[in-house]
Structure formats: C-alpha cells, structure tokens
C-alpha cells in the first residue's frame, strides 16, 4: 500500500525520464538545492554590489543637510540586513546539503531546544529594536522640530498633474486663497486669482509670486507648506531624501536645507490619476544672491 520512501518514482515515458532523472535523485537533489540557494543568495548580494558601481543604479546624489545621517543609517541597516539574509540562506543551504535522507537511517528525534530558542530570540530582539531606535534620530530631526523663523517660506500646491509653488513676496505673508476663485486656464505670471485662487482684494497677496519651478537658495533653511487641490499627491525629491504626501484639506509642513546648487527633479510619489507618472517639476538650488534676483524678476508688476 505504501509507496517507497522519497517518491523518486517517475511515471512519464522513458525518454523524458532520462532527461530529468538526475533531478529525481536524492543525493543530487540535496547538493543541487544547497548550491541553488547559495547561488541565489550570493547572486543577490553580487547584484547589489554591482549596482553600486553603475551610474544611476544606486542612491541618487544627496544634497540636503540631513542626508548624511540618513544615508549613514541606511548603510548600517542595509549591511545588517545583508548579513542576516546571507547567514540565513547559507544556513538553509547547509542543512539541505548535510541532512539528506540516507537509506533507512532515521532522523535525530528532537522536539526543540528552549535555550537555543530564547538566545536566538533575544539576539534578534536586541538587533531589531536597536535598529528601530537608532533609526528615529533622522526622523526626529526632520519632523519633530520647527523650522527656524528665518526659513524661506514656500507653499507647494499639488493638483492633477502639476505643481505650483508660491512665495509670499516682500511682505512675507501669503495672500488668502479660495477654491471658488480657481482659474485653471490662466497660468500667466502674476495672474490673479490664477490657478491658486489668490484673492485680488487681499493686499497680502499682491506681491505673491507663483511659479512652476521650485527655486530655493542654497544653505538656507526652507519651510514648505504642502497643499493639494483635488487628490492626494506626494512631494518627492530623491536628491533631497525627502518625500511627503500633500493631502487635500491638510497643510503639512516640511523643512530642510539644501547645500548644493543645481537642477533636480521633483516627482509625485502617490498615485494621483492617469498621468501620475508625468507629474514632474524641477527644483533649482541657486546661490542666495541669484535666488533673490530670480524672485525680484518674478515679482508681479504693481
């Protein structure tokens, strides 16, 4: 009634058995599986290693003051994770290699070992919780501090499928806006109410500057206020190591300091509709003097 151990019996035709016969053999299978697991594990790590040497296949260049600490934590975590992955796969390959069936010999009867169990759990818990706690430093710096008072204020407005950036102008105050005033069709410079619905009657809004480019000075803290008109979007600048949802109905603050001049891409990272993948804008980090000049050139003519 019972079939023979191991189920190595094949019931397909002789010719095809010959082709796949080696796969069915226990000794061979154990060796092959061990090699297969090791190969996959080492291949995975090799893939990561090679990617680091290729341009565009690893983290983009970092240009914000918090990115050093963040990338450090990232490196630490990826190393620990890589080691854990490798050890587990090596161990799995090893037991598969070593403990294959041998004739009628029986396995070692054991229902477990509480001591080993507790030690393993404790070591894991220390490593994991340690990582969780050290990982909070950058987060606290980013999100639990207020932006300094002298920070450059920019309001980020997201909508399907573009970004508008608003600067408060010389008076340092944003003019009031209303959804009832939105005029999507007129994106001309200095348009009132324009796509953001800036109330022309509010004197604070007279000198507001609206742009489709985010231009910021290098080395100065920037305080963004994220808003969304229609659906949830996400302000994502890979080079800044920043990502934050812009949620309808919420004003979300985000502050950072960029320290390298240049032109970087802004993407939307939260699914927002059919052309989500096209919702791109540019971040231009300029020298402070160039930034001031740009802002003055853009200011609405009174």
């Amino acid at each position: 009634m019972l079939t023979k151990r191991g189920q190595t019996g094949s019931d397909i035709s002789f010719a095809s058995s010959l082709l796949i016969l080696p796969l069915a053999c226990g000794w061979f299978m154990g060796r092959l599986l061990a090699f297969g697991i090791w190969l996959v594990a080492l291949g995975t790590l090799a893939f990561f290693a090679v990617s680091q040497t290729r341009s565009g296949w690893w983290f983009p260049e970092a240009i914000s003051t918090h990115s050093g600490a963040l990338d450090g934590q990232m490196k630490l975590t990826l190393t620990i994770v890589g080691i854990a992955f490798l050890l587990a796969q090596l161990a799995l390959g090893y037991v598969v290699w070593r403990f294959r069936a041998r004739g009628a010999e029986r396995a070692h009867y054991s229902e477990g070992n509480t001591k080993v169990e507790i030690i393993c759990a404790a070591v894991t818990a220390v490593v994991f919780i340690g990582l969780a706690i050290t990982g909070q430093r950058v987060w606290i710096g980013l999100h639990l501090n207020q932006a300094p008072a002298e920070a450059v204020q920019v309001e980020v407005n997201a909508q399907q499928f573009l970004w508008y950036f608003r600067y408060p102008g010389a008076d340092g105050r944003f003019g009031s806006t209303s959804p009832k005033l939105y005029n999507e069709a007129d994106t001309s410079s200095g348009a009132r109410p324009g796509p953001l619905g800036i109330d022309a009657k509010d004197p604070a809004g007279k000198d507001d500057v609206v742009s489709q480019l985010l231009v910021i000075p290098a080395g100065r803290p920037i305080n963004l206020t994220l808003r969304a008109k229609d659906v949830t979007h996400d302000f994502y600048v890979p080079a800044l190591r920043l990502k934050q949802d812009a949620v309808p109905g919420l004003k979300i603050n985000l502050h950072f300091t960029a320290n390298k001049e240049g032109r970087y891409e802004i993407a939307c990272a939260e699914l927002c509709g059919q052309l989500h993948h096209q919702m791109r804008a540019y971040l231009e980090v300029k020298a402070p003097a160039d930034y001031e000049k740009w802002l003055q050139d853009r200011a609405p003519k009174q």
Binding site: L162, L181, A185, D186, T187, L213
Partner: protein
Amino acid sequence: MFSVRMLALIFLTAALALSLSCGGKKEEATPSSNAGPVWKPTGDEGNITGVISFTGTAPAPRKMEMENDAACAKLGDQFLDDVLVKDGKLQNVFVYVKSGLPQANFETPSTEVTLDQKGCKYVPRILGVQTGQALKITNSDDTNHNIHPTPKLNREWNESQLKGQGPIVKKFAKQETLIPVKCNMHSWMLAYVGVLSHPFYALSAADGAFSIKGLPPGEYELEAWHEKYGAKTLKVKVDAKADAKADFSYDGASAYVPGSLKVQPALVLP
C-alpha cells in the same frame, strides 16, 4: 473522481470564456432623434450674417507659464488666446440658432470635425459639431495629453492621447452648449465644444464676422456666446431667399468673474 475533474473543467471553461470575451466592443454614441420628418431644403432658404464688435479695453496679452512640461516650454513664448480682439472686433464668438427651428431631424454630416492639440493648446479653441457627427482628436505635440470633456448632459469621458498616438474619434449624443474640454496634464489647455442637433451655427472670424447659411424662413432666437463675456441673445426674422442681419456687441468692462466655476451637484436624483 470523474466529477471532480468535471469541476476543474467547468472552471477552465469559465476562465476561457472570460478571456475570450475580453475584447469588448466599442459602444457608439447614437444621436437622440427628435420627432418629425428628416429636414430637406426647399430652395427658399435665407442666411444670417453679422459682426461681433467689441468696445472698451481688451486684456493685455498674457504669457503662458509652461515650465512643467519641457516639450511645451521649448515652444517659446505662448500667449493666452481666450480673448482675441482686433480693430474693435471680437473673434471666437460661437453663434447658433437657439430656438425657432421647425420640428425636424437634421441630417448628420459625414464630414469630421478636427480638434488638434498643437503647441500645448487646443486648435481650434472653440468649435461646433452636430450630434452624432465625428469629432476627430489628434495630438501633434511632442508630449502626452489627456482629453477630458466635462459635459452636463452627455457622457463624461477622459482618455489619454500619447505622443505619436493616432487620432481618437468621438461622438456626442445630445445637444449641449458648450462643453468645456480640458487637459489635466496642462491645466491651461481649454477648448469648448458646442454640440447642436442642427447645422445652424458659426464662429466669428478675426474680423468679427460670422454667417449662418441655409435657414428656412422664420423667426429665430439667436445666441452669441463668448467664454469670457458670456451669452447674448437676439430675435432675428429670416425671409425667403434673403439675408438677415444680426450684429452683437460686447463690452470689455462686462466680463464676469473669470474661472470655470461650476459646482457639481451633491446628489443627482433622477
């Protein structure tokens, strides 16, 4: 055991039928037909001609901001074309017969009306089609667009048209003036489509002139519509084989608050 295999077969057949039915058929919008016979010209039709004049000051040309899209930004300076005034004449006013026509079905033209996306604008900005007439939408730009009409009576749709993609042909089933058409990718892009059940409509040219030809004799209510300055109506009497005059005048100071402000009803009950 045979029957358990039957179970497997049933599921397989269902899956196959499902996958075969994937190539769903396109639905065609059919015009809603009015009561009455098909209208035929009798030979004693007249015309309406007119000029749209403009008083006051037209808004200064405003440069479009298109930095979000490199393909649009590289086109250089583009100006907003919602108000086109030249020598005191207003272009792009949509004039159509609002009421007074005999109860009849007007033949749907077999010609296509083309709406192109060119230079990150809709060309033309204002256009008219008849119910059931083919509207061919093309993309001549080096960028991706989506076309999103927001009608009140017709079915709303929203489709992408990628760069290099062939034309999209659409029809509108019901009379509706005028349907805003938008591109969500380029918020400044705006067109208006007037859908009419008859062929008696026209658009004012650069010199403000328009003409509606082949109207049966009768009294009509004529409406002129401009996206920024609103609608004006006029009673016109057309005599047999004669030209009737209908001039409209707009004033620059009368512009209503800009914006496409429409509030969607919270709950539409049938």
